[in-house]
């Protein structure tokens, strides 16, 4: 069932190569800052190159986990080192290996203090993030989930802006509160599974078939929901995000928006949907309502932000609202759209944060009012910014349109009113992005400090151009990506739609619980 077509522990290699990199960097003398940067980038780039075969060898015809490695970890407890990817996690793994080197490239000039520590932090974060996406053992998942929290905490806390301490505490405590909930749920799930089946296991794939009674599903679902909803972040759990983004250094924002937030949406797909199908249906409408509030609320609040980064941060709330909406529409195109939206958000918002970082590096301010007329000073920069703006507001031909349209269609096919309502969201995203663009790039140059602002340099071209490729690739030929997620999503929906026959009597008996799992295949 599980397979590893490469007969090579590729997932472990890409996950732990950055860790090795971190050790290597640790050995370099702190004074050789450039060497540290090169070595770090080398490791990250190598990591990306090694991850490419994942894409080509991935078998789109099966929903089973691929590139699997399975080693017993704590035998007596049933814990394993069990990793693998399916059509859902594949692209998140690739997005991570793709985005991190680009983010690191953006820090070469921007980060000047504690360069060595910073690069080690990025490498450790890479290991943590990849670990989350490949883990198929729930305790392993939890370990990685917590591990990546620390580098992010450090990144904001050490290299952040003036309010970094408050922001990082808020970020850490808030997400940690969610993690604790998840920990409780994971342990409960572990023991409950034993109670109902007689075996101790933390194997996520097996737990997906766990016959859990209705009322227990609810508490577990809610615990996971809180952990992931904070991470996504869904409205109203989002207020840590603007803080964290505004204070984080550019690379931190890129990784935070591009990848860390996806851990939340991914968590829903990996835990909530397949493990608690009844609750998924029961809570779908509630989550959809929160998602739709997020879409509009994020857009409205983004519209009036004076700080570009805060604007993009609130726009993330809006964009990820789409992702959650598509997911809980529970239609094939909706869930695929949700995954697509995750990838798109990583690319477009990641790029927008990189772009904001470019002017911040030169002018040390992100206030929109400090700029104006940049199009005449830095035409290439303006062009890049325009293209990613268009991608962010889902203009057809760019990746954004594919994701948003899929979500819209998925939601519409679930309930017409949802699609109709959200179709109007595009008006507001255009408003906040274009107003910001106008105020930064158009009109006359009014602030003399902006005169002589240099246009993008080669390094900046290098880390933005690859993102540009994907904007149009996904926009014009999305099938490259969609074809690989199809079967996995189909299987996921089958799991969600299996019917747990439960009598909601007061003193429920285990023997009355029968789980009818729809035959696989």
């Amino acid at each position: 069932m599980d397979m590893n077509q490469l007969h090579f522990p590729i997932l472990s290699v890409i996950t732990f190569l950055p860790l090795v990199g971190a050790f290597v960097v640790a050995l370099i003398n702190e004074e050789h800052e450039n060497l540290i940067r090169y070595v770090t980038f080398g490791f990250l780039a190598l990591d990306f190159i090694i991850s490419i075969p994942l894409f080509f060898y991935f078998d789109p015809a099966t929903y089973h986990m691929q590139f699997v490695e399975r080693v017993p970890w704590i035998k007596s407890l049933g814990f394993q080192y069990y990793v693998g990817v399916d059509g859902i996690s594949l692209f998140l793994v690739l997005l991570t290996t793709f985005l991190t080197p680009l983010a690191q490239l953006s820090t070469w000039k921007a980060i000047n203090k504690k360069v060595k520590l910073f690069n080690i932090t990025i490498l450790l974060m890479q290991t943590g993030m990849l670990g989350v996406f490949i883990s198929l053992d729930m305790f392993l998942f939890y370990v990685f989930w917590e591990v990546q929290l620390i580098p992010m905490y450090m990144m904001i806390g050490i290299w952040g802006g003036p309010n970094r301490v408050f922001a990082t505490m808020k970020f850490f405590l808030y997400t940690f509160a969610g993690s604790v909930m998840m920990m409780v749920a994971i342990m409960a799930l572990y023991f409950l599974h034993h109670k109902f089946t007689g075996t101790y296991t933390s194997d996520i794939v097996k737990l997906m078939q766990s016959p859990l009674p209705y009322h227990l599903q609810m508490w577990l679902f809610l615990a996971f929901f809180i952990a992931f909803a904070i991470k996504v972040p869904m409205w109203p759990f989002h207020t840590w995000l603007p803080w964290a983004h505004v204070e984080a250094p550019t690379a931190g924002s890129v990784l935070l928006a591009g990848i860390l937030l996806k851990m939340g949406t991914y968590g829903f797909l990996r835990f909530n949907l397949p493990m608690f199908p009844d609750m998924t249906h029961a809570f779908a409408l509630l989550i959809i309502i929160l998602a739709i509030i997020g879409i509009f609320y994020g857009a409205f609040v983004a519209m009036v932000q004076p700080d570009i980064k805060k604007l993009v941060a609130y726009s993330s709330v809006s964009h990820l609202g789409y992702s959650m909406l598509g997911m809980f529409a529970l239609t094939q195109v909706g869930v695929e759209g949700s995954i697509m939206q995750m990838i798109n958000h990583g690319i477009s918002t990641g790029a927008l944060f990189l772009l904001v970082g470019i002017v911040y590096e030169r002018r040390h301010t992100r206030l929109i009012s400090e700029y104006g007329g940049l199009a005449s000073l830095t035409p290439a920069y303006a062009a890049f910014f325009m293209i990613f703006t268009l991608s962010s507001i889902a203009v057809p031909g760019t990746n954004g349109f594919i994701g948003e349209f899929m979500v819209l269609l998925g939601a519409f096919l679930d309930k017409h009113i949802l699609g109709i309502l959200v179709a109007f969201g595009g008006i507001f995203s255009a408003t906040y992005m274009l107003t910001m663009y106008k105020r930064v790039f158009f009109n006359k140059v009014t602030n003399p400090k902006n005169l002589g602002l240099p246009d993008m340099n080669i390094r900046e071209w290098l880390y933005l151009a690859p993102l540009l490729v994907f904007v149009f690739w996904i926009g014009i030929y999305p099938n490259t990506f969609l074809s690989k997620m199809r079967v996995s999503v189909e299987h996921l929906l089958k799991q969600v739609n299996r019917t747990t026959v439960v009598t909601p009597a007061k003193n429920e008996q285990i023997s009355m619980v029968k789980t009818v799992v729809v035959k696989k295949g």
Binding site: K170, L173, Y174, P236, H238, T239, W240, Y297, F300, V301, M303, V304, Q305, T331, Q332, V333, E336, G373, A375, S376, L390, V395, P396, G397, F401, I402, F405, M406, L408, L409, F412, L413, H416, G419, I420, A423, F424, G426, I427, A430, T431, L434, T435, K438, F441, F442, N443, K444, I476, Y477, P478, N479, L482, S483, R486, E490
Partner: protein, 633 residues
């Protein structure tokens, strides 16, 4: 043919990429590159057009764009009778305007950027026209909106221009939301968005007079209202005049704004099923035609007069497609592209030699200085006023005649009154600009007013000739009208139960009388000056003020929609809900409570053993009494 058809779209795209990416180096020849790309595109486009003329519809699928489980959307191009007309109009008029722009934009610092955007616009417009499904149409639909946004804001250093661009995009997005909803319903009912899958099955799947057909029809029409600037989403079009004038000519008169008309004609299979949707389209069209004409009468800025006139003429087109006589709408679309494109080019020529001045109050007697411009402007004005044998006469008459015959007498009356107003405001402009005395002495000498160069006058003359002969395909020959015969292959006229018959000569007579009397009225006021315009304005002061301020529509939108919205977002959603209630209250509040509880509990840790012993014994007593209590009960 498959490759040729693809290259009709690819050539302007290549032009865009060359000028867009290498603009720094191609600047001196950017205009030549762009115009040649269009020339090639036009010539390549003739192949599929000829094929259609021979009765062979051309359709190819190139690749699968969106392969979803619920719907598969191909990237395919289709040239049938309807799109052939559009293909011809779009590529030809664009080509002329590209050539004209070579002269007009000379010396502008964004020369290469301008032509890149212009090519990009044509690419998007051709995708809109040639795409073989609604989603591809939507790609073009938003693509032209984007090009329009970029071109309106082309001189982005002017804040009016950048504001106007943004306004255009956002208002269009409102319409686009409607369009998307229409597509969603279509996918729901048909499981497809491809024309060849949807149209033949429409009657069967939706049913005549069904709510479904009405919903789809109206939703799509909301998109058309945005793109084609109909009431109430018209407010962006007059501001769009901030863009370079050839852009106004190409995008905001000849091609892009007619996309909505094309879309309705394209979707004839759906509209013919829903009398309600048709009624909505025709009514909005008729209302906009009249409403916009009233505003054109009072304006002094040539480009704004033309912009309101465009709104009004688009209204006519929507009457045509709304009543179900799709061919009349498309026919007027075509002739309008010629004469309105020309009017804007002429306005551009005036601006060019008047250093950007546009107010008719500053001109007069300009004919002497710009004979070619004056001649083409008069030709185009006669065409728009519906004077035979100029093009506009045939197409407007076809629309109004069909409206009466198909049972819409009120629309007919509104149309005829608007025709009078059209002739009046056009000739008000012509007489004030070209005839009479110079209103500001010595202005022309100071500005060195001169005729435009040949690179500009030649395209104008080409369009002038088409403004004359372009309507002749609407003359009945051998029992049928060629253009009607042609278009009804793809867009058959909706059948009406009780078709009324009127004398064609009589109807034509009324139309011509309307046009001529409008011109006469303008002549009496602006040449003969039997009564001055000011006097009339004073006689109807309140109405004049209302019209001159364009019904205060912009003010209304700003005060009642934009401003409150902004205020609520800033002061309520952000500063109260987000910062105070959610963040400070709920999030930090949780932390605060935890802290308080901790502080409270800390008091128990005193470090004195007797305190601990006290609490321990208290606990034992409490627990055991509770246990006993439970036991006894």
């Amino acid at each position: 043919m498959k490759v040729i058809l693809l290259f009709v779209i690819l050539t302007p795209l290549i032009g865009f990429l060359i000028n867009g990416i290498f603009g720094k180096w191609t600047k001196p020849i950017a205009g030549v590159i762009a115009a040649s790309a269009l020339g090639i595109s036009f010539i390549l486009g003739l192949f599929p057009i000829f094929s259609v003329l021979h009765g062979h519809i051309v359709e190819y699928t190139y690749f699968t764009w969106m392969p979803f489980k619920e719907v598969v959307v191909p990237f395919g191009l289709r040239v049938d009778y309807v799109s052939a007309i559009m293909l011809f109009v779009v590529t030809f008029v664009s080509w002329m305007i590209h050539i004209y722009s070579n002269g007009y934009m000379k010396g502008d610092k964004g020369y290469a950027r301008y032509f890149a955007y212009l090519n990009m616009f044509v690419t998007a417009m051709l995708i809109l026209v040639l795409g073989n499904n609604y989603l591809l149409m939507f790609v073009g639909w938003e693509g032209v909106g984007l090009a329009s946004y970029l071109l309106i804001g082309f001189w982005y250093e002017k804040s009016t221009a950048s504001d106007a661009g943004e306004k255009a995009f956002v208002v269009n997005r409102i319409g686009d939301a409607g369009f998307i909803i229409g597509i969603l319903y279509m996918i729901y009912y048909f499981g497809s968005v491809t024309y060849t899958n949807v149209f033949p099955r429409a009657a069967h799947v939706l049913g005549y007079g069904s709510t479904a057909a009405t919903i789809i029809g109206i939703a799509l029409f909301i998109g058309a209202v945005g793109k084609s600037a109909q009431f109430p989403l018209y407010i962006w079009l007059t501001d769009a005049m901030e863009g370079p004038t050839p852009v106004s000519s190409l995008i905001h008169a000849a091609t892009m704004v007619t996309a909505g008309v094309y879309m309705v004609a394209r979707s004839n299979a759906i509209y013919s099923l829903s009398p309600v949707a048709q009624e909505v389209v025709a009514t909005i069209g008729a209302f906009t035609a009249f409403y916009a004409a009233t505003m054109a009468i009072t304006h002094k800025d040539i480009k704004r007069i033309l912009a309101y006139s465009t709104l009004s003429q688009l209204g006519y087109m929507f009457i045509g497609v709304g009543i179900g006589a799709y061919w009349t709408g498309l026919f007027h679309l075509m002739t309008h592209a010629f004469f309105k494109g020309l009017l804007f080019l002429a306005a551009g020529a005036i601006m060019h030699s008047m250093r950007g001045l546009l107010s008719i109050d500053l001109m007069g007697g300009l004919k002497k200085y710009m004979p070619h411009t004056a001649a083409v402007m008069i030709i185009a004005s006669l065409a728009i006023s519906g004077i035979p044998p100029f093009a506009g006469f045939f197409s407007k008459d076809a629309i109004l005649g069909s409206a009466l015959e198909m049972g819409h007498p009120i629309i007919w009356i509104v149309g005829e009154i608007t025709a009078f107003m059209t002739a009046f405001y056009m000739f008000r402009m012509v007489f004030s600009v070209f005839y009479g005395e110079e209103k500001v002495k010595g202005l022309y000498d100071e500005l060195h007013t001169h005729e435009a160069p040949a690179v500009m006058t030649i395209p104008m003359w080409v369009l002038a000739i088409l403004s004359i002969i372009g309507g002749w395909i609407g003359i009945k020959m051998g029992g049928h009208i060629p253009i009607e015969w042609f278009i009804t292959h793809t867009a058959p006229t909706t059948e009406v139960a009780h078709e009324a018959h009127y004398s064609e000569i009589l109807l034509m007579g009324i139309s011509v009388t309307m046009g001529l009397s409008g011109i006469l009225a303008a002549w009496l006021i602006y040449i003969k000056k039997i009564i001055t315009a000011e006097k009339i304005a004073n006689m109807f002061k309140p109405i004049y003020t209302l019209l001159a301020n364009t019904y205060y529509a912009d003010e209304f939108v700003y005060c009642c929609i934009v401003k409150p919205f902004w205020w609520v977002s800033t002061n309520f959603l952000w500063k109260i809900v987000d910062v105070i209630i959610i963040d400070k209250g709920m999030v930090d509040g949780t932390g605060w409570i935890a802290g308080r509880v901790g502080k409270g509990l800390r008091l128990f840790q005193t470090g004195f053993a007797n305190n601990y012993a006290y609490w321990i014994s208290m606990g034992i007593i409490l627990l055991s009494s509770w246990y006993l209590f439970v036991k006894i009960i």
